[in-house]
């Protein structure tokens, strides 16, 4: 298998800045095709930014982002929208269209990108909803769904066009244990059944490590570590170890950088 085929997504020397603050500095990440790859790291380290770079919603200040053999920063706006048909994204909030019911939300990508007859669209939508266990909710509006159900409907919509790459932005945040268990199972199941490449951005260690084939730990503008969950659990890198073991003491500070505490309290106001 050639390198191009082996990796669905490749970030080469990517840097990204927001204002004066560097989010990533010369980062290299390779996402193997057909596997579940997790990108982990503490809150605010730029994990969602990384997903937006892969989805070309943001342009890197430097470097290349290759998806299925296409260098995204070089594509035109029309080519980008065309390329995104190969991708599905599960947003943190679900991002369902609030003026459409569950059925129409899932049918939306099929209606805008295909010329399929209504009967076939109906069958596909029912199959996708069946896959996430919500075929019975097809008439409900998004505001009638719980948070976990919204995410499952969004997942059905994300797989409506059978994408090659599926990205999950913090899929486990705010989920009750049952919903979380369902999501964990679904991500693994969809990946294996559909043969897609899954990228999970999360800071929920146990759930993510249980389904990921490969892990990247990012933080401090860099990739701090990468490997299988077992390899990272036994990492020599103290930053990676602190994150993987969830210990409060270590190289990642509890306090945001600030002036001297005593000077702040007693200094000039």
């Amino acid at each position: 298998m050639s390198a191009e085929n082996k990796y669905a997504v490749e970030l080469k020397g990517v840097s990204f800045q927001r204002g004066d603050r560097a989010i990533f500095n010369n980062v290299d990440i390779r996402i193997p095709r057909g596997k579940v790859t997790a990108i982990m790291g503490p809150s605010g380290c730029g994990k969602t930014t990384l997903l937006r770079l892969i989805g070309a919603q943001l342009k890197p200040s430097r470097g290349e982002v290759w998806v299925n053999g296409l260098n995204l920063p070089k594509l035109s706006r029309a080519e980008l929208f065309d390329m995104r048909k190969q991708m599905g994204v599960l947003f943190q909030s679900g991002a369902l269209f609030t003026d459409l019911d569950v059925f129409e939300n899932v049918a939306f990508p099929l209606r805008v990108h295909t010329q399929l007859p209504d009967e076939m669209i109906r069958d596909i939508v029912l199959m996708k909803l069946q896959a996430v266990g919500l075929r019975g909710a097809l008439d409900l509006m998004p505001d009638e769904l719980s948070g976990g159900m919204k995410r499952r409907v969004a997942l059905a919509r994300a797989i409506a066009l059978d994408p090659q790459i599926l990205m999950y932005d913090e899929p486990f945040v705010g989920q009750d244990p049952i919903a979380m268990g369902v999501l964990v199972r679904l991500i693994r199941l969809l990946n294996d059944a559909l043969g897609i490449t899954s990228i999970v951005v999360s800071h929920d260690l146990a759930e993510t490590a249980s389904i990921a084939d490969y892990l990247y730990v990012v933080g401090d503008t860099q990739v701090l570590g990468q490997g299988t969950p077992e390899e990272l659990m036994n990492s020599e890198n103290p930053r990676v170890r602190q994150f993987m073991q969830g210990t409060p003491d270590g190289p990642v500070p509890f306090h945001f950088p600030a002036a001297n505490y005593r000077d702040d309290l007693l200094g000039e106001r």
Partner: protein
């Protein structure tokens, strides 16, 4: 509190100027992409009809009620002034010219900015904060074509029509007060109006004004929603900006257009 030096003030002033220019540039690119960018938005006609209903038809009530009352007030005020000079028969012509040339387009634009403009900003801003715009983009649908363009066209089409309806019901309200209540002779009320209102000079210029206002108000409303900070506070600030900027733009442009159309230069 930190004191600001003169040099710092100059720097902040320059920074603000550059920010304004950057926003103008962004909003122009946004408008051109939405109106003329490539890419399909699915069933465009269906999207446009839906927006014409929510932007235009839903604004009808406020436009009709305001139009009737403004026509009635104009008639009352006009009658009391003109009666002093024995010219109360000219009240029809005064009401019609005031509504067609000025109040129809201007008040409709101001009401439209408050009713439909603020709703457009809040709706698009909310779509942005709930990641619906990002989600559309990731499905491979350009939000500028699917969300913004139908709303822009709906504003461009519906506001001139609303301004015409405003003027018509205003004249009707004026006639009701002048003819039915104040006893102005009906024949002279309508005949004076017919002889003094010119189609090109008055009606067409009024329509041109409302077309310009429609363009500016809708552009400001959709851009503020699309460009807002995706938080509750950001959406509320953007909605306020829409009403303030659109109202000021309408009043400023009205002066320029009036000077160009009716000024003797």
């Amino acid at each position: 509190m930190r004191k600001t030096s003169t040099l710092e003030r100059v720097r902040l002033f320059g920074r603000a100027g550059l920010d304004v220019l950057a926003t103008l540039g962004r909003s122009t690119v946004f408008l051109l992409r939405a109106l003329f960018g490539r890419g399909s938005s699915g069933n465009s006609l269906q999207l446009l009809i839906k927006q014409l209903y929510s932007v235009g038809v839903m604004s009808l009530a406020i436009i009709v009620v305001s139009g009737v009352f403004i026509g009635m007030v104009l008639s009352l005020q006009g009658f009391s002034i003109l009666a002093k000079y024995g010219s109360e028969q000219a009240v029809g012509q005064m009401v019609a010219l005031t509504l067609l040339r000025e109040l129809g387009p201007v008040v409709t634009a101001l009401l439209f900015a408050g009713r439909a403009g603020s709703a457009l900003t809040a709706e698009i801003g909310n779509m942005k904060s709930t990641e619906q715009l990002s989600s559309l983009a990731m499905i491979g649908v350009d939000p500028l074509k699917y969300i913004v363009a139908p709303r822009l066209w709906a504003g461009f089409i519906s506001m001139p029509l609303l301004a015409m309806i405003f003027s018509v019901v205003g004249i009707w309200g004026g006639a009701m007060v002048a003819v039915d209540w104040l006893g102005v002779y009906e024949g002279s009320f309508w005949a004076n109006m017919q002889s003094s209102v010119a189609f090109r000079e008055d009606v067409l210029n009024g329509v041109i004004k409302s077309l310009v206002f429609a363009f500016v108000v809708t552009w400001i409303a959709v851009f503020q929603g699309y460009d807002c900070e995706p938080t509750s506070e950001g959406i509320s600030r953007a909605t306020t900006r829409t009403v303030v900027y659109a109202s000021l733009a309408v009043l400023g442009l009205d002066f320029i257009l009036t000077a160009l159309m009716f000024g003797d230069f």
